[in-house]
Symmetry: C2
Subunit: 391 residues, 2 copies
């Protein structure tokens, strides 16, 4: 087959970078945005189990994450830089005061929100966001604030990543350490152990570095690093004694990884996907010293947040992994919620795609204290959905 | 993570083999079969282009392949062992006489039908099928018959594969040679060069072996072999000067390959999929000397037939590859038609899944002489669909 010349290759790269940007903006290659109907929606799903999907809240602008408070209410982040309060079954009209200024962009703004494991006593809430720096700059920031039930107060930046922006997920592990994911889409940087982009980090709850991190004391390595070689890690959860992480691949190759301390997950040297211009991302699907994914999607569903279901109300789904996607069926913009079933060795045995017909970008999924699943749609007129058993 | 013991592993294998068998039988893990509505169905698709899908014929039992005759009519195979005639816009009620007896089973029966390149003069039609042998045996058979416009006559078996059964695709290449695909799901046999299972073959139009086949004269190799290491090759087409082939993976890992004479495509040593019990099929996604797929699907769509669209009526799809699937969205039984877009180097740049909401298993796809796409649904009450531009 013919080789393409340099100029044409460059034109192709620009063309597909533009296409990728258009997709990220929610354009659907000409497909009209389908407004979310009122619901509830009922589906027979694969185990078989019949489910009902309720629309709990609407009018959320690009919601990204949610946190359940001990009183049963919820805090929901909107990427433009608001925290909303969902209480007594409805979305409070006014945002929570005390949220810092953020730079809202194609992939940036306010992203994750997490409660401190000891929130009941210290009322600490953690946020990740792009803090504006000067006219066009921004810096990825992890901040901690006190939530008094009405407002965020005493906000303190506890960690920043210079040169990094974009959406960042947090996770408190059972040992109380704070895991933070950092985008590494700009390729080689994800393998540079002196850079924090394209890594997951492990911090103390005040942003300092734990002395038992895998690279502490190792020359040429930033001590915050927990794992290397990530592209766009937007989901992290604790399950089965490990940190599970999910990241988007490029043109194919979204993947779920189980994180081993100090592990290298291969981006950009190993990927199951292709670059946007067409060639495979790497000449190998696997390399010595780089850890294989546990689950991957080809073509991409453009993975976002994730959750393991551990409850009993949706009994047939116990132990299943749920992963949001902002496209599905290979059509940009048509989101899905993937359900992945594992055997007892945490090896995948089958999958199912849910909510595809709603044609909503799915941003996050979370098990609530009521053992139901909560889902955020990544739309300008976004919504919160709840999945319940239907019978 | 824990290792499973032998007995438990064996139980798991049996469990998932049963599940796979149930899937192959069209059971949907409890999901009810959704009858095909009357249509026509209209869709906005990704380029964007609006299409209309017409139901041209119903009541086909497990249709597998179709062939366009010079007079504009069509011959359609039904897997239980019938050839049907679609003429003047409707399905003739009586099957074509002269079809040999076949053994209809979970994966077997009558499969492909192809016209000789010089059909206009010699009226040769080729069939692949499982010929019954004794009480329970069968043998994969390639036969040639003369179609006189009403019946198949003078049927002659021109090639058989002992020990092989299941669905087999044929292709006449522009050099007049007949390519035949043979299932190799039973693993190691696909790598055995003295066996024909898990291979594609290249034959003369009378079933003899061409002298320029890649392994002719090579000790330890069957001279019929064109390529090795295939699992379940159900689609083959000629495009861009090459044979393109598509095969199902196991639990993930369906793939499209461009066939090089003598090439090894890896099954069962390399696969992007997992075994039905959960572990990855192989310890590597790639091996030296084994050729990578051009397109692959994880999770599986359970690929079937394929076609390149080369016409002008569906202009936005020119050069796209279409691949049928008997499941989609990871739900067994919910079929799809995948559209794959390539760059000028035949590297994939994006995909789209079509017809998913119909929930029909898609068995085959073909471009008609009218430059429209024809689709067969793999259902007990199967149908032939036609895809047209909608405006």
């Amino acid at each position: 087959m013919k080789k393409i010349d340099g100029l044409r290759a460059c034109a192709l790269v620009l063309l597909f970078a533009a296409a990728a940007a258009a997709q990220a903006q929610g354009q659907r290659r000409g497909l009209p945005v389908q407004p979310l109907a009122n619901g509830p929606f009922e589906y027979m799903t694969g185990e078989p189990m019949k489910i009902r999907v309720q629309v709990l809240a609407r009018g959320l602008e690009k919601p990204w994450s949610l946190a359940f408070l001990p009183d049963g209410s919820m805090l929901i982040t909107e990427r433009p830089g608001r925290v909303r309060h969902f209480r007594d079954g409805r979305l409070m009209p006014d945002p929570i005061p005390g949220v810092p200024a953020v730079r809202f962009s194609l992939l940036g703004g306010l992203s994750d929100i997490k409660l401190h494991p000891d929130f009941a006593h210290n009322h600490y809430v953690y946020l990740t966001y792009d803090k504006p720096m000067g006219d066009n700059g921004e810096v990825l920031t992890v901040a901690r604030a006190v939530f008094d039930g009405r407002a965020l107060k005493d906000l303190k930046e506890i960690f920043t990543v210079e040169g990094a922006t974009s959406m960042s997920r947090m996770l408190f592990a059972p040992d109380g350490k704070l895991h933070v994911s950092v985008y590494g889409e700009s390729h080689e940087i994800a393998q540079d152990p002196m850079e924090l982009s394209g890594k997951t980090l492990r911090l103390n709850d005040d942003g300092t570095v734990p002395t038992d991190n895998p690279f502490v004391g190792r020359k040429g390595y930033r001590p915050e690093i927990y794992t290397l070689g990530h592209r766009s890690p937007e989901g992290m959860v604790w399950h089965d004694g490990k940190v599970w992480e999910v990241e988007m691949g490029p043109n194919g190759g979204d993947e779920v990884n189980i994180l081993e301390p100090g592990g290298n997950y291969g981006w950009p040297y190993v990927s199951m996907g292709r670059s946007y211009a067409g060639p495979y991302q790497s000449d190998k699907f696997k390399r010595e010293g780089m850890i294989d994914p546990v689950v991957f999607w080809v073509p991409s569903i453009s993975t976002t947040g994730m959750a393991f279901y551990t409850g009993n109300k949706l009994a047939a789904w116990k132990g299943n992994l749920f992963v949001g996607g902002v496209r599905y069926g290979e059509i940009p913009g048509t989101g899905s919620l993937s359900r992945v079933v594992f055997n007892e060795n945490m090896e995948e045995i089958r999958r199912e795609a849910l909510l595809t017909d709603l044609r909503q970008r799915i941003r996050d999924v979370r098990q609530g204290p009521d053992e139901l699943l909560y889902v955020l749609t990544d739309e300008t007129d976004g919504a919160m959905l709840r999945i319940e058993p239907a019978e």
